[in-house]
């Protein structure tokens, strides 16, 4: 094989460049936490990982169940019963809209328009 050295060096550089995002992801410190203020209650309706990933889908399902099927109670996996209501159930613990909802939504570049209708606790009180 001709030019073994430059070719090998080239391959190594190429592999490093292409896998760079993984290394930055694993060892980098660039990732900034959202810095949300968590509510004081110990647990949410379901576990944290589920709520973090699926809360909007859960809210959509709650809405359809409550409005269309008249199922206004949710029995969680741990057996606890919750009234299905964003304003009266979720916001009772998650009282800090600016510190909790908004911070995370801004850092993830999502702009849900829940609050054009639903009343943010601090605003409505």
């Amino acid at each position: 094989m001709y030019n073994t050295r430059p070719v090998c060096i080239g391959i190594v550089i190429l592999v490093i460049v292409l896998s760079a995002p993984f290394w930055v992801g694993i060892f980098g410190t660039n990732y900034t936490k959202t810095g949300i203020t968590k509510p004081t209650q110990e647990s949410c309706v379901e576990d944290t990982a589920f709520m973090r990933a699926q809360h909007m889908r859960l809210l959509n399902e709650w809405r359809d169940q409550a409005l269309r099927n008249e199922n206004r109670n949710y029995v969680a996996k741990n057996g606890k019963t919750w009234e299905i209501s964003l304003q009266n159930t979720c916001m009772r613990c998650h009282t800090d809209y600016k510190g909790f909802c908004e911070k995370c939504h801004i850092s993830n570049s999502v702009s849900p328009y829940c609050w054009t209708c639903h009343i943010i606790p601090t605003e409505g009180k």
Partner: protein
Amino acid sequence: MNTNRRKFLKVAGLSAFALTSGLAQVALPETANAQLAPGGYGNSPKSLHAKRWAMVIDTRLFKSADDYKPLIQACHHAHNVPDIPGNKNIQWLWVDTYDHVFPDDMNEHMSAKIKGTVFPLLCNHCTNPPCVRVCPTQATYKMADGIVAMDYHRCIGCRFCMAGCPYGARSFNFFDPRKFMAEPTNPRFPTRMIGVVEKCTFCAERLAQGLLPACVEASNGKILFGDLNDPNSSVRKALAENYSIRRKPNLGTQPGVYYLI
């Protein structure tokens, strides 16, 4: 060669059968209607249920338009209904004169008592609601208990329902309703947003908590609310003992609001 063809046809036939008979469907996971939440859904033991909710308004017990004011206030207060000056106001419960409420009754020589009386108006929660038929997004729909409900999340503001409703029971939010209230009167209930249609909901959210509708509660028994399918209910008894009329009965919408006159 012959046996190969035979085998091939057998396999092809079985495959075609499996694909078309729904056997393949069983193997596929049902993702379309799958429930996301790991828990279960139900309703509160406190909630009120009926086969067909209906309202009977004893208009004989109301003396003037002022008598309806506390009811309208209770309703609009409970649901954060704004008061917008002009002809773009939002109304869930309001009053009008006899000839506007019952326009089919074309008698020029009504008794002075009827002529001067005002009648309360609200969504009739029809058995055959035209608004539900014309809604392109199923934002308005009829529930199993007869209530014609609204899901404002789905409303695109096309106003077909307003054109479809023969009772003018629906209001369109031409403006952001929050601009017309200092702050929402009931912090436990949402407001609406600009560009959606709204109307009376027979207080479905109050029924779920075991409470009667706000106007019924404020009327001190002058408005009855109950199950039309239950012969022993207060509404059925009132209808059996009194002469009642409904708005525009010839349209066949079968309103759920009855007037005793």
